[in-house]
C-alpha cells in the first residue's frame, strides 16, 4: 500500500473534564476514500476540527507527507492543502457564492480584489464538478437551497488544489438525487488523487464510495477495515460497541 498522506497517532482532546478523543489513530491515502463512522457523539467532528486547525488537539502526533506538522490555525491547515466541508457548512449567508468560495484566500492585485479572476475560477470549479443547479455565481448564499449550499461548500474545498478533503456528513440533508451527485463528486476527487475522509451515518453511502472504513467508538478507534473485505453488519457491530477488533486497538 502507498504511504499515507496524513497519519494521526495517539490523538487526545478533552473539553474540561470530558475526554472526547482518547488516543485516536487515523490514516488517509492519496486517491482513496477513507470513511469515518461512529455513533452520535463518538468524536468524529472533534477529530476533524483538529485537522482543520480550528480546534487544536491536546496531544498526539500528526504527520503529513511523513513529516510531523503542527495544526494550530485554519491557515496552517490550508497551507498544507487540507480542506474541510463542515457538518454545519459554515458559509456566510450575506456573501455571494464567489465570495464564500474565496473567503480567507482572495485573489488580489495591488492589494485589491481581482473579482474577475475569482469569478472565473469559481465557475470553472463548479463546472468541473458538473454543477448545474446554480443559476449565477453571484447569487447570495442566503438564496440557495440546502443541496446548493452543500455544493458550494464542497466547491470551496476543492477550489485550491486541495490534497486532503474532509467531508463531515455531506449527504445528511440531501435528497436522493443530490446525495448521488455528492457521492459521485467524492469519487471524482479520489480519482484526481486527492485523499478523502468522509464522515457519514449512512452505511449505504459509505459502502458505495469508501476504500477504507474506520470506526470511532466513544473517542477510541475500534476498527480499521477494508471496505471490500467487510460487511454492513460487521461495521454496525463496531459502531454500537458489540464487536471489538483486536489488532486495531493501539
Amino acid at each position: 500500500m502507498d504511504a499515507p498522506l496524513i497519519e494521526l497517532s495517539g490523538i487526545m482532546k478533552s473539553f474540561g473534564p470530558v475526554s472526547v478523543l482518547k488516543g485516536v489513530d487515523l490514516r488517509a491515502y492519496p486517491g482513496k476514500v477513507t470513511a469515518l463512522v461512529g455513533d452520535n457523539g463518538a468524536g468524529k467532528s472533534t477529530l476533524i476540527k483538529g485537522l482543520a486547525g480550528v480546534q487544536p488537539y491536546d496531544g498526539g502526533v500528526v504527520k503529513f507527507d511523513g513529516k510531523p506538522v503542527a495544526l494550530h490555525s485554519p491557515r496552517e491547515a490550508a497551507r498544507l492543502g487540507i480542506e474541510v466541508v463542515y457538518q454545519d457548512l459554515a458559509l456566510c449567508d450575506n456573501l455571494d457564492i464567489v465570495q464564500n468560495m474565496f473567503l480567507g484566500r482572495e485573489e488580489t492585485e495591488f492589494g485589491t480584489f481581482d473579482e474577475g479572476r475569482m469569478e472565473k475560477d469559481a465557475s470553472d470549479t463548479l463546472r468541473s464538478l458538473s454543477v448545474r443547479t446554480v443559476k449565477s455565481v453571484r447569487q447570495k448564499v442566503s438564496s440557495l437551497s440546502g443541496g446548493q449550499r452543500q455544493t458550494v461548500a464542497i466547491a470551496r474545498a476543492v477550489l485550491k488544489n486541495a490534497r486532503l478533503v474532509i467531508l463531515d456528513e455531506p449527504t445528511a440533508a440531501l435528497g436522493v438525487a443530490q446525495t448521488e451527485q455528492v457521492l459521485h463528486l467524492v469519487s471524482r476527487l479520489a480519482e484526481q488523487g486527492v485523499a478523502v475522509i468522509l464522515i457519514s451515518h449512512n452505511l449505504a453511502d459509505v459502502f458505495e464510495v469508501a476504500d477504507h472504513i474506520d470506526v470511532l467508538y466513544l473517542g477510541q478507534m475500534v476498527a480499521h477495515l477494508d471496505a471490500s473485505e467487510t460487511t454492513r453488519d460487521d461495521v454496525v457491530g463496531y459502531i454500537t460497541g458489540a464487536k471489538v477488533q483486536q489488532e486495531a486497538t493501539a
Binding site: 490550508a78 449567508d93 473567503l103 480567507g104 474577475g116 469569478e119 449565477s136 455565481v137 442566503s142 440557495l144
Partner: protein, 429 residues
Amino acid sequence: MSTQKTPSTTGPAPDTSVHDVELIGSGQEGTIGDQARAYVQRLQHGDMGALPAVAGLVVLTILFSFLSPFFLTERNFANLLTQAATLVMLGMALVFVLLLGEIDLSAGVTSGMTMALFIVLVNVHAVPWILALVIAFAAGILTGTFIGFFVARVGIPSFVVTLGLFLGYQGLTLLIIGSGGLYRVQIPEIRDIQNSNMPVWAGWAMLGVILLISAGMSFWDRARRTRAGVPNRTISLVWIKLGVIAVIGGAAVAVLSRNRGQSVGVVEGVPIVVPIVLVILWIGTFVLDRTRFGRYLYAIGGNAEAARRSGVKVMLIRWTAFIVCSTLAVVSGLFSISKVGSVDAAAGREIVLSGVAAAVVGGVSLFGGRGRLLHAAIGALVIAVITNGLGLLNLGAGVNLMVTGGVLILAATVDAVSRVRSGGSLMRT
C-alpha cells in the same frame, strides 16, 4: 478557451427563461431589462439597500418645499449640507462596527471628548493647533483600541463596553472643560471647514474628478473581467451610473455655485466640508468593497464562525473596526465644532443615537453583514432634512426628536422584516 460555450448555441431549442440556462451564469449577462428584473428580484428578497431612504428623501423634500418657502433656497441647501456633515461622518464611522453586528454607543462622546481635549490644548495651553489635532486623533485611536480590547479580546458585549464609555467620557469631558465651561473655536482653518466655500470653478472641477474616477474604476474593472474571461454587464449601465452622478452632482454644484449671500457680500461655491466627506466616503467604500479588511467585516457580520474557520483573524478585524469607528468619530467632532464654533461639556452627548439612526435609516443592518457607507450618508441626509425642515416650520426640538425616533423605529422594522424575507427566500427556493 475552446470549451467555452454560450447558452444560446447549446441545445436544440434555446430557452429564453433564465432558469434553464445550462451553464452557470455570473449575474452580469443580459440586457438592461434583464438587469433591471434581477434588481427587482433582489428587492423582493428583502435586499432593499438605500431605496427606502432615497424614497424618503424625495418625499420629505417635496413635502417641506410645499410647507416652507425657504426650504428649497440655495442658502438652505448649503446650510443643510453643513448641518448634515457631522451626522454623515458619525453614521459612516458606525457602519464599520454595525457591519460586525456590534454597536458603539460612545462614538458621540468620543468625538466630544477629543474635541474638548483639542480646544483646551489650543486655547489654554497654547499648543499649535496641528499638534493638538494629532493628539486628538491619537486619543480617538486609543479609545477605539480600548473598546476593541474589551470587545474583541476579552469578549464583553460592545453594547456594555461602549455604554460604560458613554458615561465615563461624559465625566472626562467635564473634567477637561470644567463644569459650565465653554471654549470658542478661533482657529481659522477649523472654522473654514464648515463656514467657507470652495471657489466656484473648484466645485465643477470636483465633479469632473468624481466622474473621471468613477469612469476610470468602471473601465478598469471591466478590463480586468475581460482579461479573466468573464462577462461584463452591458456597458450602458456604466453610462447610466455616470449620467446619474453627472445630473445629481451637476444640479447640486449648480445650486451651490449661485450667490446665496443675504446682503452685500457674495457667498457662493461648494462648502469645503463636502469634498472632505466625499474623499472619506470614497476611501472607505474602496476599503469595504475591494480589500480583505472590508470583505472580512461583512463575513464576520454574516457568520463569524465561518469566517474564523476560513482563516480570517476575527479578533484582529473586530478590534480594528472599533479603532476605525472611533477615529472617524473624531473627524465628525471636528465638523461639529467647526459648525457650532464652540465646545462645552455636553459635546457629543446627544448625537450618537442619531448616528445609529442615520445608518439604520439608510439601510445598514443592525444585525450585521449588510450595509454601505453611502447608505449611512443618505440616512444622515434624511435625518438632517427632517431636522432642517421642522426647524423651518418652527416646530421645536421636541417634535424633531419624536419624528426622528419614529423614523428610526420604522427603519429598524424595515431592517428586521427584510432580514426575515431574505431568510424566508431560503426555504422557498
